[in-house]
């Protein structure tokens, strides 16, 4: 009987120890760096210090199955201002993160559809509003689904926090005058146009299937063209920093001078912004006005190698 009791005692202690160490271990286990793998996330869904947030652009995706525990942020309604063309206001951003239960110790993990474009856009907005610890799920929603990992339809509810933005980092955002300064030779920044070669050359005004929102085709003078897709592997994960360095160096971008990324509306370019800032440590601003602002502005110089004339019969 005594032996039995001692055995129980011993096992209970061992279990308790195991539980304590595993909790302590798990809490310290969040990988360093700007990316988390699907493999790590699948094993750490109930990690107490993470908040998974889906930013997808297609309606109904999150609702019909998301990574268990993930919160839904709408790119159109939550991360953009609903009236003027701008990112979400500081006040609304604070309310959004408070409602999602993001606190000072929370590591935010973003993921989404369409190659993480909108999730990367989210990461850029989070960075502007000074959220320290933001990571992307490498490969995004597509990789999670391709690996047949668990999905849930239940919307979680977290205890709200009182999230406050400490400092707004406007240096991550390029505005029209910043871009114009490069064009006029008053700034040494490098412009990277991450759209497709056909858009860059001015053969088309918008990607196939997308409404034409600019009345001129082409690109900003002096910009180099490195389509966003060059930064990823076939499964949607980012290429290694060494490979990335080589790809951008071939286009003359080595991080020696500041960089400005742009695309059509600024969401695909945040994907490249993420690769260059977070993976390579370069100094990069994302120009969210992008071609739909620059290409539509009256009187600015543009380059249009294809020579297309808008709406001309």
């Amino acid at each position: 009987m005594r032996t039995m009791q001692r055995w129980f005692h011993g096992s209970a202690c061992a279990l308790l120890l195991l539980a304590i160490t595993s909790v302590a271990f798990a809490a310290a286990d969040i990988p360093q760096g700007p990316l988390v793998s699907t493999d790590w996330l699948a094993k750490n869904l109930d990690h107490p210090n993470i908040r998974i947030i889906e930013v997808s652009v297609n309606p109904g995706l999150y609702e019909r199955g998301h990574i268990p525990g993930a919160v839904n942020f709408s790119w159109h309604r939550d991360l953009n201002d609903l009236v003027r063309r701008d990112i979400v206001s500081q006040e609304n951003f604070e309310a959004l993160l408070s409602q999602a239960g993001v606190g000072p110790d929370t590591t935010v993990i973003l993921y989404g559809d369409t190659n993480n474009w909108f999730a990367a856009w989210g990461a850029w907005v989070f960075d502007i509003y000074g959220v320290d610890d933001v990571k992307l799920l490498d490969g995004g929603r597509a990789k999670w689904e391709a690996e047949n990992l668990t999905l849930s339809t239940r919307a979680p509810e977290y205890a709200p926090t009182d999230f406050k933005v400490a400092e707004v980092n406007s240096a991550l955002r390029a505005r029209l005058p910043d871009v114009l300064a490069v064009v006029e030779g008053q700034s040494e920044a490098k412009l990277i146009d991450i759209r497709s070669a056909d858009e860059f050359q001015g053969k088309i005004f918008a990607p196939p299937g997308v409404i034409e929102l600019a009345v001129r085709a082409g690109h900003i003078p002096g910009a180099v063209n490195v389509p966003w897709v060059k930064a990823v592997n076939e499964d949607g994960t980012f290429k290694s920093p060494e490979e990335l360095k080589k790809i951008y160096a071939e286009a003359g971008v080595d991080g020696g001078t500041p960089i400005i990324t742009y695309c059509r509306i600024g969401e695909r370019s945040s994907h490249t912004w993420f690769a260059l800032t977070q993976l390579l440590g370069y100094e990069v601003r994302n120009y969210d006005g992008s071609w739909t602002e620059y290409g539509n502005t009256v009187g600015l110089p543009i380059e249009n190698p294809a020579g297309t004339v808008w709406a001309a019969k």
Binding site: P59, G60, E63, R77, T153, R154, A155, G209
Partner: protein, 393 residues
């Protein structure tokens, strides 16, 4: 020979649906397609076996006073309402003004919507069915259904042509009323079930007197009974309500016109028959006709599954009766189809998309479309009885 037609062919059809679903689900992004095909096949089987047809159900009541079909429709909406409210309540926990659950069929309420419902009701009288029933009748070998569906495509093209003026005249500024915005989910559920209960109470008064049939004594008898005559009306209603709720959870709100409308739009756009830009159309919830990246969409597979499911049910029940169409079949199919198509395009869906999926979600647009449709259905049947006293069904 009979065994081949009534057993082996339907079995082969069902196995081929299962096989195709398996192949689809192994392709990247193919799970939704496989689910759509299977759900469509089950829906087609159920629609055929229970003869769930809005037109026939309404005619049974208006002409013979038999309310069982309309009660089955009310039951479908009631069951679907509970399912939809459960699901939408989880998707959008707080129904805040300005926000709608993703892709639900909640549309603008305007006189254009009422006109759409009215045209749709007339189209049902002339062609003898609504769009969903024409799909399942295709599986029964109906000589009218192919013409009606062709006419529907033409009606969609007419709808695209009249869309822009209607949009600027009324649709653009029309309110998009969703009951949970004003009443909350609980209030919306109560209001809808209360309304359906009142309708049912009114309909029930003319329940036909019938001798009760004894239940089957043996399982084999019960099994055979599945393929004799038709299933009781209420089983069709219950099944359609449940399938509607399952499909919105896994796929998209149930609708049977998106693929047809999308094909009509692509064809008409390539011929330059319709405006390049259809104002605001693709921003509305409803049976979307926006061009898809691939022709292999969930809605195409849902419809394909529906026709094959109905065909196998019809064969197994000896109700597959194809015959050569007459000029009368073709004429009424095409003309009725034109009205069905115009109504479904302008109303952003048909009896399934706007009426069922819309009302189940708590959309006022579903009720308005339904009311207008049943009114002209009643009127059309009256006129038909005057013009053709012995009109065939």
């Amino acid at each position: 020979m009979q065994t081949l037609k009534n057993f082996w062919i339907p079995l082969a059809l069902i196995l081929s649906v299962l096989g195709t679903a398996q192949i689809l689900s192994d392709r990247p992004g193919g799970r939704a397609l496989a689910f759509a095909l299977l759900a469509g096949a089950v829906l087609g089987f159920v629609l055929q076996r229970s003869r769930f047809c809005f037109f026939c159900h309404a005619r049974d009541f208006f002409e013979r006073g038999d309310p069982r079909g309309l009660l089955a429709i009310a039951l479908a909406i009631a069951v679907g309402t509970v399912g939809y409210h459960l699901i939408l309540g989880s998707w959008l926990p707080v129904p805040m003004p300005g926000r709608l659950p993703p892709d639900a069929h909640i549309g603008p309420v305007s006189w254009a919507l009422a006109l759409a419902g009215a045209a749709f009701g007339l189209g049902m009288v002339i062609s003898g069915s609504c769009i969903s029933a024409h799909w399942y009748r295709l599986g029964e070998g109906s000589p009218v259904a192919p013409f009606a569906l062709l006419g529907t495509m033409g009606g969609f093209v007419l709808g695209f042509i009249t869309w822009n003026p209607l949009y600027t005249a009324t649709i653009a500024t029309a309110p998009v009323w969703w009951l949970p915005h004003g009443l909350g989910y609980g209030g919306s559920l109560l209001a809808q079930l209360g309304m359906l209960g009142l309708l049912a109470a009114g309909l029930w008064r003319t329940w036909p007197r019938a001798e009760p049939t004894p239940p089957p004594a043996r399982f084999s008898e019960a099994l055979r009974g599945l393929f004799v005559g038709r299933w009781p009306y209420w089983i069709g209603g219950l099944a359609v309500g449940l399938i509607g709720a399952f499909i919105i959870l896994r796929l998209q709100p149930l609708g049977v016109t998106a693929a047809l409308g999308g094909a009509a739009r692509a064809l008409a756009a390539s011929q330059g028959w319709i405006p390049d830009r259809l104002e605001g159309l693709d921003g509305f919830g409803g049976c979307a006709t926006a061009p898809a990246a691939s022709w292999l969409t969930p809605n195409v597979l849902l419809i394909g599954g529906l026709v094959v499911g109905s065909l196998s049910a019809a064969l197994a029940s000896r109700q597959f009766e194809p015959r050569w169409p007459t000029g009368w079949d073709a004429g009424r199919g095409l003309l009725g189809g034109l009205l069905l198509g115009w109504g479904a395009m302008t109303g952003l869906g048909c009896t399934i998309g706007t009426l069922l999926s819309g009302t189940m979600a708590g959309a006022v647009s579903g009720w308005v479309f339904g009311a207008a449709m049943f009114f002209t259905l009643w009127l059309g049947l009256k006129i038909q009885a005057l013009l053709f006293p012995a009109a065939p069904g």
